[in-house]
Amino acid sequence: MNGLKPLSLADLKTLAEKMERPPEVAIQLNRLLHSPNVNAEALATVIKMDSRMTAQVLRLCNSAAYGLKREITTVKEAVAMLGTNALVSMVYAILAKVSLDKDVSGYGLEKGQLFRNALTGALYSRYLAGRMRGDEPVDGEQAFTGAILRDIGKVLLGDYVGDAYGDIEHVAMERQISFPQAEKEILGVSHLEAGHYMAKVWGLPDMLVKSIRYKTEPSAMPTSDPFRKQHFPVVAAVHLGDAFVRMNGIGIGVDGLMYLLDEAALRLLPESQTDAGMEGLMAGLIALHPQVDDMLSFLEKEGA
């Protein structure tokens, strides 16, 4: 082992302070989403506070990525066409680029890879949410939003993982434990916990906080959590989206496939139980890649 000093809460705080804070519009949107008065008009009012965000939302609505049949000219129309949750997903996609489109070389990710991975995982999670079978339908837009910032902790821990990769990989491979569990053993904190801390500091909604913390193991959500039953299917969709992105190799880094699958999450996806079902799922997910490319190219042009 290389004798790295485990990270403390104070270290995390210092790292988090270096991260760019989300713009005011995101914080206001979060507040609104927590309030019982959320509706199309209120949402449009908040987005319109930020003229750059308003312009980006409208251009993204009218881009090939969304394929709408008529031109959208106001945020209110966009909310009416796409729905509240889809519009929030769009805002988060724009915001996530700011936080994730970075070189995270400690994880073997050149600039662009982490954001491609995030966006692909978000689209995969939304697709899989629609194919999951549980007591209630799973909200695909919540799964998208939950997935898009799921690896924010990697931005915080990148340099530390770069220095300790050999040790982390050794522990993960030897004991067949997941990469984040091995990170915890070597660094004292995993990228899931670092991301969870960041999400709390930013005041992100509870569903996002849980998606970040439990994306590799939804079943580890505490049974005492009063919202567990409600949040589990969305976090399960995020988990499965993440697993399929790894299997397809989209923007994955040195942590590769050193991850475990959560059986309870998988049970919600009946197609994953047979060879033919699984292959159909893979083909369906790969068919989403042009949509990822459209969104990436749009956001790149926008300089979002």
Partner: protein, 183 residues
Amino acid sequence: MPKKPTTPKNVIAVAPGQWQLSQSAYQVFRAERVSAGLVMVVHFNGADEGDGMGAIAHVQLPQSSTENSGMLAVDTALQTMETELLALAQQKEIAVASISEMQVFLAGGAQLFAFGGGNNALNIGSRNVEAAHRWLQSHHALVTAEAVGENRARNVEYYVSMGQVWVTPLGGEDAVLAGPETD
């Protein structure tokens, strides 16, 4: 072991579901972050370095029975590569009759760590590799060299002129897959 050549600027990317046939012996192809998917290279050495030819495919599925699988599947990709290489050989007046006379390299087929349920359907990486072996056996061909399985994604580069396939696991060391006549 020979040292990996520097990746040229004009390297040709091969994304999942894509394949390429060499247009000249001096081309280099690259597939990035190959995970559960599989890169399959079919190579034929010419009489000298400039005569080499080959094809590369980056597939994700073991068989083409799935709707819209096309070049995503092992069987379709191998069949297409054999047909197109034989046509190219005929154009170049090279005497070769089937894939069994060519070299075949495989890289990829990684998998997530196992979990308690042992659901084999999820192990699509191994199934991709098995499907390639099965198809080749049924066409009397063998795998020349492979770097498959494990839990890491790999970058793969195919140098047509040298008949070499370089495999670099993310976070790991370069390794070369090559036919018997290469050091």
